[in-house]
């Protein structure tokens, strides 16, 4: 007979919970080397002997008193869903702080198993940890694991299963000294009147959390019979002082144990520190960051070029083949102009997407992202954003949807909202094909620099918008930030390509689904009503385009661009796909068709890139803005604001470019 059990993975941020989760369940959840990669709970399943085990991966947290949105998710799950076993993933290279959370988990009286992760790294830096003794002190089973290699996975599952079977559970808590203990006893006595509450949570844990000033626990007491007495007790003490004393006692208990279980090597200045001296230097930091970004886009462009040429040749051959050999003509048009012209135009950029994500995965895995946040803290603070906001902004270079979710680790509500609203200006990978097509066509010599300029413009607009919002609709102080700097790591040969592949294949699937539908809609609009010339002014596409043309004509765009922009609202790659369809690139590549069009000047192409960078978030991003802000109001605001900013900047850039290079 099989038994179902549920295991929750918890622990400090960036200790390798998700790596372990992937190893346990065979999942491929995203991992990175910065705190706060996981912001929602993820579940997976694994079978071990006669047990069907559900594993839940939780966002990282430093304590059981939640502060930011991701911590609340982790804490609420542990408290209210009551998993059968909690596996605390502990970073073996940072025992002291990790065990602080352990002391709190013990108070919660849930069965705990410790996965002593990154054990190989602790050993490599010369530490020797006596697992058996540590386990005996804590009265918690400990399993040595190395998540990246999958070491200890089976043992961990076995230990978890054993814990489920062992009941009742032992209780091991810290003593907080006479004063605090007396108050805990008073609070516990008062709380015992609320049987409903004490039935759900351990009494001592409730009292401890109240003493620490945990608001959410106080909320649970509100409305119950114990409230008056609890409030009276709490008002007689200084909870800040108590919290400090209790934290002190916890660390004291930990440091009493540690020398007995660990032989720590003397820490010298680590290579991480030496790298940090350079990359976070007050003068060198920002130039280094900009150079890295410029290099990224230069590489994205040049390294992909040969592969692009190959795909382009294949698509071109296919188009010719279809045009030459398929009857009737409408079917040839459907296949050639519609599917191949549209989806083909998007697929050409697959190599760029792969390379961009490979570099982003490398940056994420190396630990540099957290440094970028530190470097940018000064300039961002002056403009009304916390430095921490910079990580979601950089993640936005990949895709704005996970980037907007990553804002959950930002503590201040206003800071978070602000970071969400400016995130769509960070140029996601879906916009890259548009730039590569247009920059490669109109500015072949400077394409890498043009693309770099667009990314920097996106950051500049995001920052300027933050400043504007901060002084108008979201006034207030920037909350100060504290963020862990993970040690630099060389991303393993597996994780970066895997991340690249998962994002790249997502791009292919997108091309085969939403982009395909989008371009087919454009093809249909360009082909009907029956009898009109394909893509002519008389077609539906022509009518819609001409209706909207006056709106975009000042920017130098004609009706074809107007149609492409409308469909780009669904997904920005469709802008390229639609142009591919509308230009009906049967005999020539889209690039030469664009060059040959007198209606599109180089200056207008630049304006178009700026417009695509800034105008409305795509449908998926709008959805996630709605989800994370909890209101359509902000989603709508984001669309309207983006359109206005895009129009103004495209106008300015187009005319400036026209002045300098002519042709606007």
């Amino acid at each position: 007979m099989t038994r179902e059990i549920r295991i929750a993975l918890t622990g400090n941020p960036n200790v390798g919970k998700t790596t372990l989760f992937n190893a346990l369940t065979g999942s491929r959840q995203h991992v990175g080397n910065w705190p706060g990669v996981t912001v929602e709970k993820k579940t997976g399943r694994v079978r071990r002997n006669s047990y069907e085990i559900e594993v839940v991966d939780l966002p990282g947290t430093y304590s059981l008193t939640a502060y930011s949105a991701d911590e609340i998710i982790a804490r609420d799950f542990l408290l209210d869903e009551k998993p059968d076993v909690v596996v605390q993933v502990v970073d073996a290279t940072n025992l002291e702080r990790n065990l602080y959370l352990t002391t709190q988990l013990s108070e919660l009286q849930v069965p705990v198993v410790i996965a002593l992760n990154m054990a190989d790294m602790a050993e490599a830096q010369g530490d020797a940890i006596d697992l058996a003794r540590l386990s005996a002190f804590l009265e918690i089973p400990i399993v040595r694991t190395v998540g990246t290699r999958g070491d200890g996975i089976g043992d961990l599952l076995d230990a978890a299963i054993r814990e489920v079977k062992t009941s009742p559970h032992h209780e091991h808590t810290i003593g907080y000294g006479d004063d605090v203990e007396a108050t805990i006893a008073m609070l516990a006595d008062a709380l015992s009147a609320d049987t409903d509450l004490t039935g759900r949570y351990p009494l001592r844990w409730l009292a401890v959390k109240l003493l620490e000033g945990d608001e959410s626990v106080l909320d649970k007491v509100r409305g119950g019979p114990a409230l008056a007495r609890v409030e009276r007790i709490l008002s007689s003490i200084d909870s800040d002082e108590y919290e400090a004393m209790m934290a002190d006692k916890r660390y004291e208990a930990i440091s009493a144990i540690l020398p007995q279980v660990r032989k720590a090597n003397v820490r010298s200045m680590s290579p991480s520190d030496m790298v940090d001296r350079v990359v976070t230097d007050r003068y060198l930091g920002i130039p280094i960051f900009l150079a890295l970004m410029w290099g990224t886009f230069q590489l994205t462009f040049t390294a992909a070029a040969p592969f692009m040429t190959m795909i382009e040749a294949a698509v071109g051959w296919l188009v010719e083949f279809v045009a030459g050999s398929i009857e009737p003509a409408w079917l040839a048009s459907f296949l050639g102009d519609g599917i191949i012209g549209g989806v083909g135009a998007v697929i050409v950029f697959l190599p760029n997407i792969f390379i961009l994500f490979l570099i982003l995965a490398f940056l994420e895995g190396s630990g540099y992202l957290a440094r970028a946040a530190f470097i940018m803290d000064r300039p961002l603070y002056a403009l009304g954003l916390p430095g921490k906001a910079f990580i979601p902004m950089l993640v936005g270079f990949g895709c704005n949807v996970p980037a907007i979710m990553a804002t959950r680790s930002i503590e201040g509500e206003k800071d978070r909202l602000l970071t969400i609203l400016v995130n769509p200006f960070m140029s996601c990978s879906a916009r890259l094909p548009v730039y590569i097509l247009l920059a490669g066509t109109f500015f072949p010599e400077q394409a890498g620099s043009v693309v770099f300029f667009l990314y920097v413009l996106g950051i500049a607009v995001a920052i300027a918008s933050a400043k504007l919002f901060r002084s108008t609709i979201l006034p207030g102080e920037v909350s100060p930030f504290v963020m862990e700097m993970p040690p630099y790591r060389i991303p393993t040969a597996i994780t970066s390509p895997r991340h690249m592949w998962s994002r790249g294949s997502m791009y292919i699937r997108k091309a085969g689904s939403i982009i395909l539908i989008g371009v087919l809609a454009v093809w249909a609009l360009a082909s009907f009503p029956l009898g009109v010339d394909y893509g002519s002014a008389g077609s539906f596409a022509g009518m819609i385009g001409h209706l909207l043309e006056p709106l975009v004509a000042p920017l130098g765009f004609d009706w074809k661009v107007a149609v492409a922009l409308i469909f780009g609202f669904i997904a920005k790659e469709i802008v390229v796909g639609s142009l591919g369809v509308l230009y009906g690139t049967g005999e020539e590549t889209l690039s030469s068709a664009l060059l040959a069009d007198p209606g599109l000047s180089a200056a207008a192409a630049l304006a178009l890139m700026v417009f695509v960078l800034l105008y409305t978030p795509c449908v998926a991003a709008i959805g996630v803005i709605r989800q994370e802000t909890g209101s359509w109001k902000w989603a709508g605001f984001s669309v309207a604001y983006g359109l206005v900013v895009a129009w103004i900047l495209a106008f300015v850039v187009g005319h400036l470019a026209g002045f300098f290079i002519g042709g606007a």
Partner: protein, 80 residues
């Protein structure tokens, strides 16, 4: 015990002992969880006009000036 001064005033390479953390509810709990607790030793790795990278125990943290002002340490110099 010597005078107290904010962590933000220390320069790179300095080591100090934390005396008090007064950062407001929530943030204070977070800081304790991170190891910024009275009596903990903290070393300033990098300092840029009040923003710091510090090490506490085996961890490195970036702190904005706002937080670094609220963590008070015992000033080594003031101990006479």
């Amino acid at each position: 015990m010597g005078d107290l001064c904010p962590l933000a005033f220390l320069s790179a390479g300095t080591e100090a002992t934390i005396a008090k953390v007064r950062a407001g509810k929530g943030m204070q709990t977070r800081l304790f969880g991170m190891g910024f607790c009275p009596e903990a030793r903290v070393t300033v790795q990098c300092a840029d006009r009040g923003s710091l990278i510090v090490s506490v125990g085996d961890a490195r943290y970036a702190l904005s000036r706002g937080i670094a002002m609220k963590i008070l340490v015992e000033c080594a110099k003031a101990v006479a």
